[in-house]
Symmetry: C5
Subunit: 355 residues, 5 copies
């Protein structure tokens, strides 16, 4: 169960810009990877401190710095200072309980968003915060955890010079990272969609308390998913409008594409919510229907047997003068009356469609 | 049951502009039909590859290229390259899980929307994605499946030169296609409206679990229908505003007309949703009412027979000294008392309006 | 029961501007009435075809053409051509399933809206579509059915020269017609309000299944009423803003007045919806309360009689050695125990407030 | 019970500007009070007709005309004509079923709003319509009923020259009247808040059907209150923006203050609605819980006594060969078995937490 | 239980700007603390009346006046007059039932907002109103109660010259106070989040009436929390836009940061509301499920025992000629039949999954 709020409170009272890591430690050790490339050139290295990096001063070279693990405040601070990031940006990078947002600091754009994937073990959705710093010729990405597979295809493309990525600027790299993250949402949505379809079938065939609990679990997931994805709309829309000089005009249609995807994701989440609400209604109706069925059985049984029992009770009375008791066919008659009453009750309930 | 999400995930990690078909293969073979016409001239041919087309360079001739079946990526790519379409457009054409949208690429306008029709066999609504490329003197339409009847009347009109279509430009042809698709929605809405009215009658006469399931099925259909139609408003509104130079000002009132229809469709869907919600409420109340009725029957039966049974039980006791047992009219008296109690109970329940 | 959707589908596939009547034929024969007036002059005539009209060319004369019955496509077309109306306007006039809207065609303004009145026989709300064409010195009104009483007082005022109507332009006449239609809504709302108040009393005194059905019927009416009235806000607001040169600036406060009325109508409908929802809640609670009461009766009866029956059953056993049976006061004692148990049960339930 | 709609229908068909009183007659006789004041001067008189007023022509003198009772159309018309009010304004003043609104007629501003107070006798909220005409150096207020206490403190302040009111213009007087009306809402809200808190306690301690009815009554009141107060936001916001030349710029902060109060009132109403909805949920859950408790008692009683009764019934059978009947301790044994079964049932239900 | 509305009504009728304290008296005595500082200088003193303060006239010195306890109207008035505050501002400061808002009075900005903390004793959320006056080189803060710990870290930072606070202007001090208040919300949210998670577990394990009451209590808290926090968005957003000349442009990113936090708080409250609604649904379903289970038990017991009792009753009849009674194995046979019926009933219910 994801904690509702992370320990943000430990920052209360500290001056703004104080660097405190909020969240879980997800990686053992911080890893910094640097990729430098342009149309003709490519290099890649893994370093321990940003000082080792010796970044090319060449304007045409695009540098991608990927930091995995943000629990070591010192390293993040070092990177931040190296690139001249504002303390408030560093504070936000370290706080993994951030709302997706975009801040334009003229010299660079700061983007926070959530990576979402399924935790194989417990079947729950896990979110990981990704911070992107998009500069004129560099991109810095901060990930909470160990190397996400999501960025791997991009690395491959850069290494092999596949596609147009090596010929484009830092804004294209930033777009590619964003696109990879949003595309990844579809995998989670598909998995959720499959779960919902399974539940729908279960609902029709044999709804149990477990089904109810599963519906509620999914509804709960939707609440969190929505919270993580909803602000994305604004973030990408702001990029699409090309308000920053860091983003070339030709990028507009690319960001429009990611924007469409983000809206699609949001609408799908809303659709899932609507469907889950509908399923809850079905579940409740089916409980009511079952209760109704149970009540009918009870009523039928009682209504048939009570009169019969009364007859048996009457002829079980010990009055001295009860003429029927002496009759030769009294017993037979009593049993016949019982039979007639029983059968006519059944017929009556059949007619009333209770049986 | 329509799958909630198509396998978009297979694109995750691929560079943007990579052409992958997402969706079901609905047609056996891709078919390309070309219609060229102007006020005086008309030709029509079916080709295998776009190279065979030999399109007229004459600016006054309007060309309509209709591609049926988009599962053969190569053919779509060929058409795209022939007309100079952006890779992102081709990517979107191939992805049948697209949200209705409009993208203005200066030289052409790209429109995606959903065709909706009833599947006769299972009574379910099926959506098919239609992509329209609207250029200065050409229109390209991409359909998923086999030749839709929806466009046939337009073909007839072009062939026969009926109406004004042969004298108008590509924007009018684009409008005509849009109009045909939106008009087709009304057929689906009418069919749904009839279903809802049938269900309403069923609800009053004899609601069964089947009724409930049908209401929920329709509610579910509405969710999907809404998702498919809602963005249309924006799409057509954008055309109506005439922001593109490809759309002549005189077209405004035509697009306003389609816009009105689209809003009408959306409002009708909302009305249907409201009505289905109301019907669900009626169903639930009627279950509760029935349960109440069943409970009353049970209570009445028990309340009448329990005291009678007790009397029978009492006179069935084997005490030695029970004066009534010896009485001459004891049995008669006991039965009379039972009768009186039973009748007065019935009278009581009548008064309380339980019977 | 009003049909959910009229047969719009019969137009699917036809070229835009094709004139087809959609809706029921409500009048036997089409009737065209013409009124021409200015400050000093007044004439009125009923004609068969618009050609007979010989309208005054005098700019200062206001002409009001009223067409009752639109099922004869030819006559509507004739009128349209005579006044130079756009084919799309004629198409919309003939389609009685139109959403209220306003279209500004420079030379004239086209307004569609819904007249609403109570059908005396079945107590249902009936809507009739009214189309208004507002020109520089003429107004054309198209009604579906036989002469509505709503316009009669206006005719009287013109005939008698009462009020300022004879001294004002066509825009004032258009306003007067609109005002008459909107004022007519209040009559329907008052009738509905009375029904709702009656239902509220019924709910408190003695709610039956009929009450429930009535609430739902009214809720359903509200859905349709809302659909018919809601777009009116926009329509009149557009007139109020005085965007068209056909509407003099001095008319602004008149249209603002109708606008206020329209908003009032919409808010009242919303209020009614809220109240009906509240009443549904009361109904459901009262069913639950009743069920609860029934259950209590059942439980009380069973809880009192089961122990007594058991005692009777025990002393009805045929064991040889049952000392109590031999006692002189055994029977009396058994009855006393039963009495004590019964009375203490009653006292217990009283204390628990179940009785 | 406030009538849902007043007899607005009696105006349908009349020309705009026709003066008809709509609403109840709340005062016996119309009373007109006139107050004239400036920094140094003050006079006050009660008149029968506006002609008697002889208003000071002096621009620096502020005149406040208060009309109590609007059912005498003639008097209102006279006042209107004296001050040159538009017929539509007079029509609106006479119609007590008006939505709060503001109309700017250049020479004066017309404001309609609702005074709200508790009717001591039936504990219901009563609304009274107040119309304010704000001119350059006069304010006219129309009230439906007998002298409201709400304006009394303002009269006192004018009489005694307390506060700044005597040194300020007509706009300040208008503001003061508005402020008095809005401040009066707080009294009603507090009374409602107390009622809600009482109900909340009742809900926890002992919810009855009366509680439910009270919740619903309050919800209903909220619907009407909201309708009366909601449009006020717009009205005052329009005054605050200072669009009219009749309102001096220095008044902005005063109107902003009333605006804040109006928003506060609206938000409090929303809060009350939310709370009442929550209380309804609690009520329904508590009914369900009670029903559950009742059902448990029934089930427990039946489950304990049915087996015991069966045993008694078995040994009450009249078979010739029933060995147990002959046993010395048979009776004792049967009773023991019954006891064991009964006790173990009780233990079982205890364990299951049903007891 | 927090009172729904404070006694605002006692102000009704008083002229605007009349100073009346509304709310509870939370502190014994009013305490005024003054801090004056600039880059190099720092002084701090506690005074009784503002006259004692002798504030530095030096423009570069920032003065922070903190007033604790506002129930003594005279002292607040004195402070207000000393700094030239508008009477309406003083009125608002004294009224603790204020909606969070920001008013720009050119020379100073007036901000009202709510401090929120947990009352340790009753576990309820308590709000305290904070008023901030932000001038060119001074900040005045009014608190209702005794020295809040929230501002203590800020005092420490000023005293020790930690962080940049001593080098920045009054706008930075204002921001710091705002930030401290908003950061404090996270503590309350975390506490609430923990409560919700505990309740969620309780719901799954063993929901009781107490759980329901707790859910409702939290929902109620959310309503009040939302009312207190929601307007904050607008307040801070107005500061962020930097419309006032009192706020330097470089402060924008700081206020944007607080703005993000405020939105985060609001979204979290919405998330909590959604979750609590979901939990209510689970609770209701679980009650229904339980009732269903109880009903099943009852039905099973009755359905098994009624037929057996009937058999016992039949052989308890006293007819003279009942052949079975004479049979050697009659008793055994009757018992066997009962056993068979009982067992087959159990098997039947097993098959129907009722057991």
């Amino acid at each position: 169960m994801p904690r509702l709020t992370k320990k943000r409170s430990k920052k209360a009272g500290l001056p703004p810009g104080t660097l405190v890591h909020i969240g879980e430690k997800k990686a053992e050790e911080v890893k910094i990877t640097i990729m430098g490339y342009n149309d003709g050139h490519f290099e890649e290295k893994e370093i321990k401190t940003i000082q080792e990096s010796r970044l090319s001063k060449d304007k045409s070279t695009i540098t991608w710095v990927n930091v995995e693990g943000i629990h070591q405040v010192g390293i993040v601070e070092e990177v931040g200072n190296y690139f001249g990031l504002h303390p408030l940006v560093l504070e936000d990078i370290l706080n993994t309980d951030q709302r997706p947002k975009i801040d334009d600091y003229d010299k660079y754009i700061y983007i926070v968003l959530k990576m979402i994937y399924f935790n194989g073990k417990c079947g729950e959705i896990v979110t990981e915060q990704i911070s992107l710093i998009l500069g004129s010729n560099f991109v810095i990405s901060f990930q909470e955890g160990k190397e996400g597979d999501v960025f791997d295809p991009i690395r491959e493309r850069i290494r092999n010079g596949k596609g147009r990525i090596r010929t484009m600027g830092a804004d294209y790299l930033g777009y590619t990272l964003l696109d990879a993250i949003v595309d990844n949402y579809f995998i989670v949505l598909e998995k959720l969609g499959e779960n919902i379809e399974l539940l729908e079938e279960e609902l029709v065939v044999d709804p149990t308390t477990q089904t109810l609990r599963e519906i509620h679990r999914l509804k709960r997931e939707m609440i969190f998913l929505r919270k993580a994805v909803w602000p994305l709309r604004e973030v990408i829309s702001s990029l699409e409008r090309g308000e920053s000089s860091l983003i070339k005009e030709t990028m507009e249609m690319y960001f429009r594409d990611v924007h469409d995807h983000a809206i699609y994701v949001i609408e799908t989440i809303e659709t899932f919510r609507d469907m889950l609400s509908g399923m809850l209604d079905i579940y409740l109706s089916s409980i009511n229907n079952k209760m109704n069925a149970v009540m009918k059985v009870l009523t039928i049984v009682m209504t048939i047997f009570m009169p019969l029992s009364l007859i048996a009770g009457i002829y079980g009375m010990n009055f001295k003068y009860m003429p029927e008791l002496e009759w030769r066919w009294g017993y037979f008659m009593a049993c016949s009356i019982m039979g007639v009453i029983g059968v006519s009750m059944v017929v009556y309930f059949r007619k009333k469609r209770w049986l």
